[in-house]
């Protein structure tokens, strides 16, 4: 009986400790990534994931993530925008932001309250893809170096391959 109780105590305590040990208080990456699994059905398999951490500042920002792609492969990109602040735009391009003639292949945004999960399957070979997160300004953001609160969030991208 005593051993059984000890086991229960240890087990429940470990569960509690693991639950509060998340990387970022505002970004439960496991839950956000797990919710992408429903969109990663056969024939797609998990390849990689990216978490983009966003803090609204007084100026708009842009964060770009480079994705290596391989010839003849088909990929599925799943964007989870549940934890992003409203107004963040996501654009997928065939070239990076330094190219003027790049082509937009897909876009979505975090403003739509009724749709937070977005999915796109590549239909043409690109040696690389670039995902741009366009983050709006928050004109009420406190100056840098102060302890005043900021608006933060995170976006999750999960990639699957066939």
């Amino acid at each position: 009986m005593k051993k059984h109780n000890l086991f229960v105590l240890l087990f429940v305590s470990m569960l509690a400790i693991s639950a509060i040990g998340q990387s970022y208080e505002y970004c439960d990456t496991k839950t956000l990534k797990d919710s992408c699994k429903d969109y990663l059905d056969k024939p797609y398999k998990y390849d990689a994931a990216n978490i983009i951490l966003v803090t609204l500042g007084r100026k708009p920002q842009m964060k770009e993530v480079e994705l290596p792609m391989f010839m003849g492969e088909t990929y599925r990109l799943i964007f989870n925008t549940y934890a992003l602040p409203p107004g963040v735009e996501i654009h997928v391009y065939n070239k990076d932001a330094d190219h003027d003639n790049r082509k937009e292949l897909f876009s979505c945004n975090s403003s739509d309250a009724s749709k937070k999960m977005f999915m796109w399957d590549t239909d043409h070979f690109h040696s690389k893809l670039y995902v741009d997160y366009v983050i709006p300004a928050n004109h009420d953001a406190p100056p840098a170096g102060t302890d005043a609160p900021l608006i933060q969030g995170c976006g999750v991208l999960v990639i699957g391959f066939k």
Binding site: K2, V12, K37, Y46, I51, P68, A83, T146, Q152
Partner: protein, 293 residues
């Protein structure tokens, strides 16, 4: 009486832990609700700076994806080219464990995709032992991976899906525990082992598809070096690894067909057989160092 007292303390502790757990759970749920406004929480400028540093700008593929690409290009199974089976205890530092976990993960994928299930089980057990030593063996246990692996031995596709799931769980664990650098070191091991395997098969069979895949894989090296540089302060051995990978990159960039390549082209570079061999020698030399550690 003693047992009753003990029971009470246990129950109170368990309830307190559950309350703690449920508080966190509610927080997570509200963050992930459909209303965008609910997803926001507040932080300070210091936290914001940390967040900027923690966002990645380059994504690495999984070892399974690399093995799958080579397989689709005609890479067949050759016995004796994968890493020798070793006890996880043979690796003394966290760096060597992470590096070789990558090496064995690549061999595990190669064996699965080529229906070498006996060897795949051996590699899976080594990967699990190394994960234990690196501190995230729980990833295997939480989802009964070994048991599920054993019961799906006859289905290559099911085994590949299991490995992909294991990769996702490992990535999430490392992300949540701020140990992403271990994943990057492991990827370096996996990448070198995959390139070594691709090169060894090419040398025997001269399959044209494999040659172009080898050059295509070189695109990853630049991103890998960038990520290793970012995490350089996490382990003293990373600087040496970066230098060794840069040597391979320098060899590759010295080839005429690479120098004259149009970066806007959407076709991979076609390396000459001599250059594939030259590149292969550089990779084999580095791989020998990895598996000897």
């Amino acid at each position: 009486m003693r047992i009753n007292y003990f029971n009470s303390i246990t129950c109170i502790s368990a309830v307190a832990s559950l309350i703690l757990l449920s508080c966190h759970g509610n927080n997570s749920n509200s963050k992930n609700g459909a209303n965008g406004a609910d997803t926001l929480t507040k932080a300070t400028a210091q936290v914001a700076n940390q967040a900027d540093q923690d966002s990645e700008t380059y994504l690495l593929p999984s070892p399974l994806q690399i093995a799958s690409i080579f397989k689709n290009s005609g890479l067949t199974y050759l016995p004796g080219i994968t890493a020798p089976f070793k006890d996880a205890a043979a690796f003394n530092s966290q760096f060597d464990r992470a590096l070789n976990m990558g090496v064995y993960s690549a061999d595990l994928s190669y064996c699965i995709l080529n229906k070498q299930t006996d060897d795949a089980v051996k590699y899976l057990n080594i990967v699990k032992s190394l994960s234990d030593k690196l501190g995230f063996g729980s990833v295997f246990e939480s989802n009964s991976f070994l048991k599920r692996f054993q019961s799906n031995m006859n289905s290559t596709d099911s085994l590949a899906s299991l490995i992909a799931e294991l990769q996702m769980e490992t990535d999430t664990y490392l992300e949540n525990n701020k140990e992403k650098y271990i994943g990057v070191i492991a990827f370096a091991g996996a990448w070198v082992e995959s390139m070594s395997t691709g090169n060894a098969v090419y040398e025997k069979q001269k399959t044209a598809g494999v040659s172009s895949r080898i050059s295509e894989q070189m695109n990853i090296l630049e991103g890998l070096v960038k990520l290793l540089t970012k995490y350089q302060s996490a382990d003293n051995n990373i600087a040496g690894l970066i230098a060794q990978l840069k040597d391979i990159k320098t060899t590759y960039e010295s080839f005429d067909e690479v120098k004259s390549y149009n970066p806007d082209s959407e076709q991979p570079i076609s390396l000459t057989p001599d250059h594939v061999s030259q590149l292969g020698k550089s990779i084999q030399a580095l791989r020998s160092k990895f598996i000897a550690s």
